[in-house]
Symmetry: C2
Subunit: 338 residues, 2 copies
């Protein structure tokens, strides 16, 4: 039987929406924190198929989630392309100097081989996951990955957006390399068992429409076209986070099967997108953490407003590490109706 998530992503309206949470695997779970103690280096952890598969499966054992998402990080790709990447404890990612475009381009083919462990993780997870639960692969979107590569860290994006204005040709060249690397990486993930693929554009906020078209919509479109050309037929979810005013344009033009919606997208915009695409989202992670009657009411409202079209329940952003587990469990059970 085809997993509910895949049916929804292919456009089917289900009696109850499938559900998964961005960052469902990770720091929220005590068993993850225990597992991480066995491999303190985060990049090494992501590249260890046994450990990454275990992290991927941990939330699946605890909760009646509809899908698992492979445990990995969007910065594995720049590292595989030859830029130094490391994580400072409590400070997030740090990146070394940006290699030249020629150097990066020369590493695109090799980068996929350097990411082979993620394929191994997918195979291990798929072998252990029930057939009615889907497995999702993912990559960071080119612009988002470029912001880290250009700024050397993840805390702000002003320098990268300024670079988009002052060095358009250089940015376009960098994005082209990332598009190529991302297509290969996602093809590999699909071949290793990913039944859906998600493109995370985590930093689409504050982009004006012309820039959004150039550095978000067009690269996403090229990635989807590249996947199809390579024979990958699994559904693709696009997530232009922080751009709720441009998400309908995105849905029209980016070519993904489904669009993940941020917290600030209106019910009406979601319904308009549902006419041609599946939507996913957009519970406020702060509300899931806060819990209480407001949480239950909002969960019901989201299902009410979007549940009669193709819809996947999810957050509008990642699960916060200090979210109480009972809130997660209660919400998932409320959505699936168990």
């Amino acid at each position: 039987m085809k997993p509910a998530l895949i049916r929804a992503l292919e456009g089917e309206t289900l009696a109850r929406p499938p559900i998964w949470f961005m960052r469902q695997a990770g720091r929220t779970l005590p068993e993850y924190r225990t597992l991480r103690e066995t491999a303190p280096d985060f990049m090494a952890f992501c590249h260890d198929p046994e450990k990454a598969a275990e992290a991927t499966l941990q939330p699946m054992r605890r909760f009646p989630l509809s899908a698992a998402i492979v445990f990995a990080d969007i910065l594995l790709l720049p590292k595989a392309l030859g830029q130094e990447v490391w994580f400072e404890a409590g400070e997030g990612p740090r990146l070394g100097a940006l290699p030249s475009i020629e150097a990066l381009r020369g590493e695109v083919e090799a980068s996929t081989a350097r990411l082979a462990s993620i394929g191994e993780t997918l195979k291990l997870v798929r072998a252990q996951l029930e057939p009615d639960r889907a497995l999702i692969g993912f990559a960071g979107a080119p612009w988002t990955v470029a912001t880290y590569m250009l700024e050397g860290r993840g805390s702000e994006r002003d320098a990268a957006r300024t670079y988009a204005y002052t060095h358009p040709d250089e940015l376009d060249a960098l994005i082209d390399v990332l598009v190529d690397g991302t297509i290969r990486y996602l093809v590999m993930q699909a071949n290793a068992g990913a039944q859906a693929l998600k493109i995370f554009e985590s930093w689409a906020e504050n982009l004006p429409e012309d820039l959004f078209e150039r550095i978000v919509i067009q690269p996403h479109r090229k990635i989807v076209e590249g996947l199809r050309k390579a024979g990958v037929t699994v559904p693709v979810i696009g997530f232009p986070r922080g751009a709720p005013g441009l998400v309908e344009l995105y849905a029209d033009r980016a070519g993904t099967n489904a669009v993940a919606l941020d917290v600030g997208v209106s019910a009406e915009a979601g319904r308009r997108i549902q006419k041609t695409k599946t939507i996913q989202g957009s519970l406020d992670p702060l509300l899931l953490r806060a819990g209480g009657p407001a949480l239950d009411a909002r969960v019901d409202q989201l299902i009410e407003q979007w549940g009669d079209g193709p819809y996947v329940f999810n957050l509008g952003h990642g699960l916060l590490p200090d979210t109480p587990i009972p809130h997660i469990d209660r919400t998932i059970r409320r959505v699936v109706g168990s």
Copy 2:
């Protein structure tokens, strides 16, 4: 002759859009930095009509701007309501403990008298400003002001949004007090010569639709209704910053004459709003700072896409302090066609 800004805000389509910039007065100008040295305490500076009027007029002398906006701060109101407010150099605002709702409510009437110096500033500016250039008064919107009052600072809003979920009645009571205080404050400003009023909802980002309706749209609507009830007829501009996915709902329901648009609002959404309201915005402040051919092209594009409806040229957010003055001057002249 009625200033171009007022004609545009009243719904007229002009041959060239009027232009002003959020934060046009202030740190970008060397003459402002010199002026501030004479009054290092920021709150005292705002309450000094001579100095605040001078700061308001400085950009009007340099640039062919269509309007001045009174030099003040959105945190003058909580201070006038009895909460301690001060500015740490280089760190932004700090607020003391939140008074009880009863204490705040008891100060609403007195708060307007404590803000009388802002009325004096407006009178001084109006006396010196050419009749064809408009004078704008403003206030912070209740939710935005509440975030500062609840969190004690301006750097993040997660605690305030969590409070909105966990303490809805307490937040609604705080917002009601702020609605009352804001109406009185804006009535006073209109009586002192403000020809348009702007409500700054600087922190509307990441709000889901239900919360946005409750803590943004409804309070703004009450403010506009309160102004009209008090006989104030000047146009009101609402600015729900950070909520480009909900701005059309806002335009439909908040009752303002004009809606200021953030950077990430689509051309199409702006045109839909223009059917019933004036729009203002939404040049990226980073692009104004960056300058170059991309800036000129975007300025022309904004006028092309919105100039055939009621439109006020502005930024999508405040002017950045390190914006080169030639970029500002060039852009204003390009818009006004001088």
